[in-house]
Amino acid sequence: MKNYYDSMSRGGNMSLFGNVDLVALGLYIALVLIGLLSITSASYDSESTSIFSMQHNYMKQLMWIGFSSVAAVVILLLERSYFHMFSYPAYVFGILMLLACLLFGREVNGAKAWFEFGSVRIQPVEFVKIATALTMARVMSSYSFNINRISDLAKIIGVLLLPLAIIIKQNDTGSGLVLGAFIFVMYREGLTKYLYFPAIFTVALFICSFIFAPEAIFITLLILFAAYTLLKTGAVLVHVRFLAAMFCAMILLAVATPLSAYQSIMIVCAIAAVALGIIAIKSRALMLLWPVMMYIYAMLFVPTCDFLFTKLEPHQQNRILTFVGMKSDPKGIDYNVIQSQIAIGSGNFFGKGYMQGTQIRYDYVPEKHTDFIFCTVGEEWGFFGTLFVISLYVALIFRLMRMGERIGETFGRVYCYSVAAILLFHVWVNVGMTIGLMPVMGIPLPLMSYGGSSLVAFTILIMIAIRLDASTDDKSVYSV
């Protein structure tokens, strides 16, 4: 164990650029270049005469890469304490930007999440990510911070909820969900399992509530619950009787009274849950209390979920319904996903070759150079291409996590983990969306998708991590 940490730490205080993590930098550059190649292929127009015209997306992206390089150099040259120092002001500025956007922003695809300056569009949420990551790092690295203390936990949840609320108000929920990725960081920082297990349970229930009927969920949970206590106690007969009594009661209620099957099941399950809770407390069988609480929670959560769903915008409802397969419209939202899967799926092992992808060339893939840039990789480079690109992302995420561990102090670690979490979320959602694993959310593929905001933001995000990692010994500067 000790050896591992030794191997991760770095000796001596060398010059700044000498300490830059070249692996992370190399992975960053590789992904940006692959992105540029893909954008070129996706937007190449053989009928256009001038290859270097600024009309082309790849030329614009090249300009943004240049801009990002400048930003990267500037960040690497900055004193690392600045990041600690400016985290709160950046956060406040970010929130103000979001609010300003809400008031004066421009609406794109139904989301009022953009500023427009001439031909340049900026999405403030990209930069709010950076500010939030820095603020999270600063809060969590503050003296005597304990994530498992309610007040401290409330602080960081507050830090996340404030921008999230504004983003949802902007109707850009997809981008806002990235803030949920911070649970990754919180886990690393020792969040108790009594909090993240319910969180996972909640997410699972949320998804199940769309796919399955509530009756099915309750009955399944009831059986799982019985199986759990059976394993703990070994009293077979009691459990058989218990379940039999439950089902008899349900059927009796449904048949003999004017109640519907759903209502009967709800009533019986509720009575059973309350009764079990009382029994658990009275007999001090605390191992029962835990699942009973989960059960009651589920009974409250699932109907609430259904209710909340009706509060969503129709297009959001459609996306979720399409994703869970309850609604099919091949020409609507599904169309994008089907076309993107056709493009990727027709790539086979080695792909069709650079610039040879028919689905990309002939516009069958929508948003082919922005959100669906991964299709170009899939169609033109095949499974080997996608394997390679996914490997690069995994390597970069691993590297960031390792850098976080290596820094050895909380601010840097939380920050590096935040970057890793944001990257993971983006890659998972974006690639998952192109192959039908996730609903369509309008989230770009980091470093590869065409777009200035996204590229510059991710560059800054990653470069700060590299900068923090580049000099690990001068932690004195931000001892409060």
Binding site: G190, I344, G347, R361, Y362, Y364, G378, T386, G436, L437
Partner: protein
Amino acid sequence: MTRYDRGFQRFLHLRLVVLLAAVVILGRLFYVQIIDDKYDRMATANIIRRPEVEFPMRGEVLDRNGEYLVRSRVCYDVMVVTSNIPKQGFDTVRMAQILGMDIEKLRSQISKARRSPRAPFLVTGYLSQEAKLILDEGHFDGFYTRFRTAREYPRKIGGNLLGYVSEVTAEQVKKFPYYEAGDYIGVGGVESAYETDLRGEKGVSYRIYDTHGALKGSYFDGAMDVLPVKGSQLVSTIDGRLQEFAEELMKGKVGAVVAIEPSTGEILVMVSSPTYNPDLMVGRERNNNYARMLHDQRNPQFNRAVKAKYPPGSTFKLVQGLIGLQEGVLRPRDMHPCSEGYSYGSRKMKCHAHRSPVDLRDAVATSCNAYFCYVFKDVITNPKYGAIREGVKAWNEYVYSFGFGRKLGSDFYGEGAGFVPTPEYYDRKYGRWNYGSVLSCAIGQGEMGCTPLQMANLAAIIANRGYYYIPHIIKGIEGRDSIDARFYERQYTMVDSVHFVPIVEGMWRGVNEWGTSGGAKLEGWDVCGKTGTAQNPNGKDHSTFLSFAPKDNPKIAISVYVEHGGFGATIAVPIASLIEELYLTDTIKRPNLVEQVLNMTPNYSHYDKMQKKYDAARAAKAKK
């Protein structure tokens, strides 16, 4: 250290989460890209959409002298993809002018097309090559043309004979895998009978389209494309000039003319009247023209020459005589009396006034009813058969051997079988029956039904003295050495050649000495003929004439049948004679007779009444 330890545990957990996420994504990618190949097919279907058919030129049909009966000309379908029409629209007036369409019609077509804006829609067909060039120059975005061919008829003859070309129906598409919706197929006549030769082979080309439907080039540089192969040219047995002349003569009359070259079975003329100009079945007005014909109660689309069932009338007496001779119940010198008819039981089969008694030759020449009643009676009541039933059966076999009561097996589409009554038929009709019940068959009346083709074939059989070649309409197919072998085989009747001598003699006398067919006499050519006057329940008698010429080495055998034309001699004889004259001498020396025939219009009150009733019913229906 414990804190680090727990942190390190969690670091490992989180790495596992990242790896798990990557594995799920890669697993799904592996499935989509490598295992499931449906996406490959969908990708191809996306860009190609559907293979594009290139239509071949349909084969031509020549007449026996090498002149075109049917040609194919180039024309174009005008297609539109409305999503490619510029936002500011296009010059509708100019477009309508170029396409030769009504503006309103064009607008309604465009709005129909807009229902599925990206799918090609047929605006109109039959655009000439010149108009196509003007359209191309106009650069109307969204519009394009598709190569097609249309039929063209230089002589405008033989509507029923040649058939026409039409789009395939849904049932045909289901039944024949060769065809797809939008393909053309021959309907009726030669077009249908020789469809597989005429249609050629469709070509196919694979072109790539982008998502907006814009053409992006050919798939694999056209390596998979197949060029269309032009249909075969056919050489018909028809004599175009003769056919046109015959159609002219039959104008205003309902009936049929069939002429056959006896030495080969080649059909020289086949007219079904009323006929129609085959050009009516081509072009934009096609549907209207077709509907008009459909409502015509004289039914121009019905090919009487091969489908109608006419009573053969007196011409059938020839067959009767031949059977009697072969059976040995009749000798040419046998005399039978005729007291203006033939009495049996309390009834009498009437005859016209002529000298009595007569022998076979004169009976043929004068067309004596009584004589052939005696002959028929002798045939079917021949003691050697024991019962009348067996006698009729034997008689049936003879009649079948002449090609009656069955399909001849010609190459003509929709050939009818006619009808010859059998003992079983009489059982069903009468229960108990005797000689008197079947007597009307003796003179080709009653239940007897023959197609004009069968009657012409009878003329050919007599001309050949006992055999025929199966009549056919196509004698050569491009790329093939011969037509079907069955057309080269002699088909013998059950009557020996020697028995034909007195019959031919009688037919010769009927034309050249004294008899019913005098009008068919042609100086220098020994024309033989037999008239017929067939009674029918719908009005005036049908007029028919059966003839061949010359008597020795006959070149043409012909049957003319005019519904309600009265005596055979009145209409059928001059028509047949004029056709023979043109064919044999290449000129018409009797223009007065032509004039006379053209002016003959039988009274078709029967059809007129039907038409009136039908129109009234349609009008009533339309009102509703």
